[in-house]
């Protein structure tokens, strides 16, 4: 190969590498929504706001937070807007000044608990964690405390709080309650309860009958049931915990105007209806409730002090993992 052609091919490679720079004005979204849902959300947003291109990075909440931590360390956070599982992660980011307030956001019709009082992040839906059980199981659980009973010995499973934001939230909410507390988890451990890597693993375990009862997020159980998996889902009477999948604008956003439009879209009736169509409980009650929820069902959502949880969650995870290993 002559020198001339070497230079040419190097220049060509360089052009390839830098070609992505042309899209620098795009809206960059980091999200933990399931793959298909995230794509749908972005498509609907683009249809409502022609001319804005969206670059999307999708992963589990903990992977997203890791990527963000590295980007902060290198001094170059990439995303304009975040749509991730829980308010606790958002609070952590807010504390370090990474979120931008958006006081003009239209929160009419949302409950006050659904968004941050300083308008830095806004809950988009309610994802509750209840009990899923295999249709072949002998018992029909009604209370969280049932899982510690003799009939449930060695048959229960939950997602590890280290891998699931929803489970971490549930853990922190439960240990602060008088009727549950750490005693509850001690009893679960005595009863042969195990923690596994993520909600998907719990679903597989319960649907295949490897375990009979599992703590699981609602939409996953309901969608599997719709697909014919032998699975049922209950909201225990003590109430359920719910994460809100908030949306937020980064304080370092390169494209804040498009980011605001994205928040507007998520909070709009169209955005809320899309969440409903995907099988979620929308954060704005007036748009309706998903068809898997029997008409008139009151979901009793536990009230949780998010700020308190933010302070305690690290210690709680550590204690949990020393008990259950993950």
């Amino acid at each position: 190969m002559g020198r001339q052609s070497t230079i040419r091919s190097v220049a060509f490679a360089a052009a390839l590498l830098t070609s992505t720079a042309a899209f620098a004005e795009n809206l960059v979204l980091y999200t933990s929504q399931p793959d298909a849902d995230a794509a749908e959300t972005v498509d609907a947003f683009k249809a409502a706001n022609p001319g804005i291109e969206v670059e999307i990075f999708r992963s589990g909440t903990s992977d997203l937070m890791t990527k963000l931590a590295a980007e902060f360390a290198a001094g170059s956070p990439q995303p304009d807007v975040l749509l991730i599982a829980d308010a606790v992660s958002m609070e952590t980011l807010k504390k370090d000044g990474h979120l931008m307030a958006y006081p003009e956001a239209n929160v009419e019709g949302f409950e006050e608990a659904a968004y941050d009082a300083e308008k830095t992040y806004f809950g988009s839906k309610l994802i509750t964690t209840g009990i899923a059980y295999n249709t072949a199981a002998a018992e029909k659980p009604e209370h969280w405390s049932d899982l510690t009973g003799e009939a449930y010995k060695d048959l229960t499973i939950m997602p590890s709080p280290l891998y699931s934001g929803a489970a971490a939230y549930l853990l922190s909410a439960f240990v602060n309650r008088d009727d549950l507390g750490w005693d509850y988890f001690e009893n679960l451990k005595e009863n042969g309860h195990v923690a596994v890597r993520g909600n998907g693993a719990v679903l597989k375990s319960v649907a295949s009958g490897e375990k009979a009862y599992g703590m699981l997020v609602d939409f996953m159980a309901m969608n599997a049931k719709k697909d014919g998996s032998p699975i049922e889902f209950v909201f225990p009477e003590e109430g359920v915990t719910a994460v809100t999948e908030p949306v937020a604008i980064m304080s370092t956003a390169k494209n804040p105007d498009a980011a605001k439009k994205f928040v507007d879209f998520i909070l709009s009736d169209d955005g809320q209806k899309l969440a409903l169509k995907q099988g979620y409980l929308p954060a704005k009650p007036s748009v309706g409730s998903p068809d898997w929820l029997p008409e008139g069902t009151e979901i009793n959502v536990m009230t949780v002090d998010v700020k308190k949880v933010v302070d305690e969650i690290g210690g709680n995870k550590e204690k949990f993992s020393s008990m259950f290993g993950g």
């Binding site: 590498l17 793959d35 280290l162 490897e210 014919g228 690290g314 550590e318 290993g325």
Partner: protein
């Protein structure tokens, strides 16, 4: 005369400089960037991270557990891999090619899939055990959730790796020695113990070192089986710290990674010690030794071999296919429930899946081809060169592979987030950063078998060429490459198969348009869509299988012994 010598020296210099540059870019750079996070967190010098890490009792427990499963897994993989390599190379069992093809395929199936298949097969809901009326009662604790379970699965996962390396070494076994021993009346135990195993020492020790490093850095298996057993190893501890978050998290993680690095290094140094204690070189290759006649034992042995395939390949594969053919997880497959919808969805409707398929194919092919061409000169300098400092530098190549993928991904992120100095080129958010990380991580998989290969080669041919006046590059092309190619390409194949479904590195580095297949499978899995994940996995296994068969068609155009499943 002097002009020729100058030119030769120039070639030597160019080779050394090139090798050093490669090691610096692919191995030292990411490691140095991580070290910077440990001692200069946030730009200020501090040793707190190291002090806090060392007094933490959890760190030591995890380190001990890592050593236990690392050594246990290595031992099990060695026994299995070497036994199979000897059987296939030395005895007259039939259907060898098909068997080898099946034996190396599990490298492709994610260990979680294998683990889940077994959990189900031996669990309370097992269709097989229920049919036999032997199913354990509901709630029986599965024995795989234990340190032994982790060792078992690591062993199964890495036995093909041992096999590929030892098998490449076996091809060099001199027929003359074996025949001499046999005609002097030595039985097969004696031939095995005094000729074959001693001559195979470099391959076996090399494979052991690589397996050890793989086991120590493995995240998937301990995460799947260790968490329910409350058994913590360093890679899962790292993930736990990352999930905990907090400002110092990167520094803590970097510290734990260095611990894994140290353990891996000890393994490699020990390998070098053992390998250099004696001389294992074999004079050129001869015809393969006449296969050992198993006689009446042939049938039982063959039965055992195929039973092994049923256990490590057929069983998980059947589980995978069954899942991919129904609409929901846990639905029993019947004529009514069977559907091809999942395949239709991932092939035609999910744009990212087909893009990811091509991306992964290009990435793993690119990484393996590059690695083979790097490994041959690199191994030459390390194994036959006389510069001690280069041998020390070679240890650095080991490190990125021993780290859990997520840590290497963090290092690459930190390195390439901002445009590169001088050129202004930015590879972050492109497919190139994944290629970089793959090369950094997997290079060793080609380098290690190649070095092992060099240790078994006699230099006589190369020295003859040198005396005859052939320059370095000439010798490389005409003498060294043909001799070392089987070992190097066996390594390249390992890279291809490992990189194809790789997840943990690309999980943090992919971007729109540069998804990898591992990311797609994991995304489906995480969103509760196991059916789609299973369909994609099944397609991947089928494709690789076809690729390997296709390669066999061209076998007679390739250097002898390049494809491990061909004789």
């Amino acid at each position: 005369m002097t002009a020729i010598r100058k030119e030769r020296q120039g070639q030597d210099m160019a080779l050394t400089a090139g090798i050093v540059a490669l090691i610096v870019v692919f191995s030292l750079l990411p490691m140095v960037r991580l070290l910077q996070e440990i001692i200069l967190p946030g730009g200020r010098f501090s040793l707190d991270i190291i002090r806090l890490g060392l007094i933490d009792e959890t760190t030591w427990r995890a380190t001990w557990n890592t050593l236990v499963v690392g050594l246990g897994g290595t031992l099990f993989a060695l026994v299995l891999g070497v036994a199979v390599a000897i059987l296939v190379s030395m005895s007259n069992v039939r259907q060898r090619q098909a068997f080898v093809l099946c034996f190396v395929t599990p490298l492709m199936i994610a260990p979680q899939v294998t683990a889940l298949a077994w959990l189900q097969l031996f669990g309370p809901s097992s269709p097989l055990l229920n049919m036999l009326g032997m199913a354990p009662p509901l709630g029986t604790r599965n024995p795989l959730y234990s340190p032994e379970g982790i060792v078992f699965l690591l062993g199964i996962q890495y036995a093909p790796l041992v096999f590929l390396i030892v098998r490449a070494g076996m091809r060099k076994l001199p027929r003359e020695l074996v025949e001499a021993a046999q005609s002097s009346g030595a039985g097969w135990v004696r031939v095995l113990g005094t000729i074959i195993l001693p001559l195979m020492t470099p391959s076996i020790v090399g494979a052991a070192a690589l397996t050890f490093v793989s086991c120590v850095g493995n995240f998937g298996i301990p995460a799947f089986l260790g968490i329910p057993a409350n058994y913590l190893v360093l890679p899962t501890l790292i993930y736990q710290r990352l999930a905990g978050g907090g400002p110092a998290v990167l520094s803590e993680v970097a510290f734990l990674s260095v611990l894994i690095g140290v353990i891996a290094m000890i393994g490699i140094v020990m390998q070098d010690r053992i390998a250099s204690r004696r001389d294992f070189r074999i004079t050129s290759t001869s015809l393969p030794a006449a296969p050992y006649q198993l006689g009446v034992w042939r049938l039982p042995v063959e039965f055992g071999m195929w039973a092994l395939i049923a256990l490590i390949l057929v069983l998980p594969l059947v589980g995978l296919i069954l899942t991919s053919l129904v609409r929901g997880y846990g639905v029993t497959l019947t004529a009514e429930t069977a559907t091809l919808e999942n395949y239709y969805f991932v092939i035609f409707q999910h744009a990212a899946a087909s893009r990811a398929f091509l991306n992964s194919l290009y990435l793993s092919a690119g990484a393996s081809i590059f690695a083979v061409f790097v490994a041959i000169p690199l191994g030459y300098v390390i194994a036959w060169g006389n510069k001690r400092w280069i041998k020390a530098l070679n240890l650095a190549i080991e490190l990125p592979y021993a780290l859990p993928g997520v840590v290497l991904a963090i290092a690459s992120l930190l390195l390439f987030l901002k445009p590169m100095p001088i050129t202004g080129i930015q590879i972050y958010n492109t497919v190139w950063i994944i290629l970089y990380a793959y090369l950094a991580r997997f290079l060793i998989l080609a380098v290690r078998p190649t070095i092992t290969g060099y240790f078994q080669l006699d230099r006589a041919l190369e020295e003859a060429a040198r005396v005859a006046g052939a320059g370095l590059f000439m010798r490389m092309r005409t003498i060294i490459f043909p001799l070392i190619a089987p070992a190097a390409i066996a390594g390249g194949l390992l890279i291809f198969m490992t990189a194809l479904c790789e997840l943990t590195v690309s999980a943090l580095l992919w971007s729109s348009g540069s998804e990898t297949i591992g990311v797609v499978i994991f995304s489906f899995e995480q969103g509760g869509d196991s059916k789609y994940a299973a369909a994609v996995s099944a397609i991947m296994v089928a494709t690789t299988f076809l690729l390997m068969l296709l390669a066999s068609l061209f076998a007679n155009k390739l250097p002898d012994g390049v494809l491990p499943w061909r004789d």
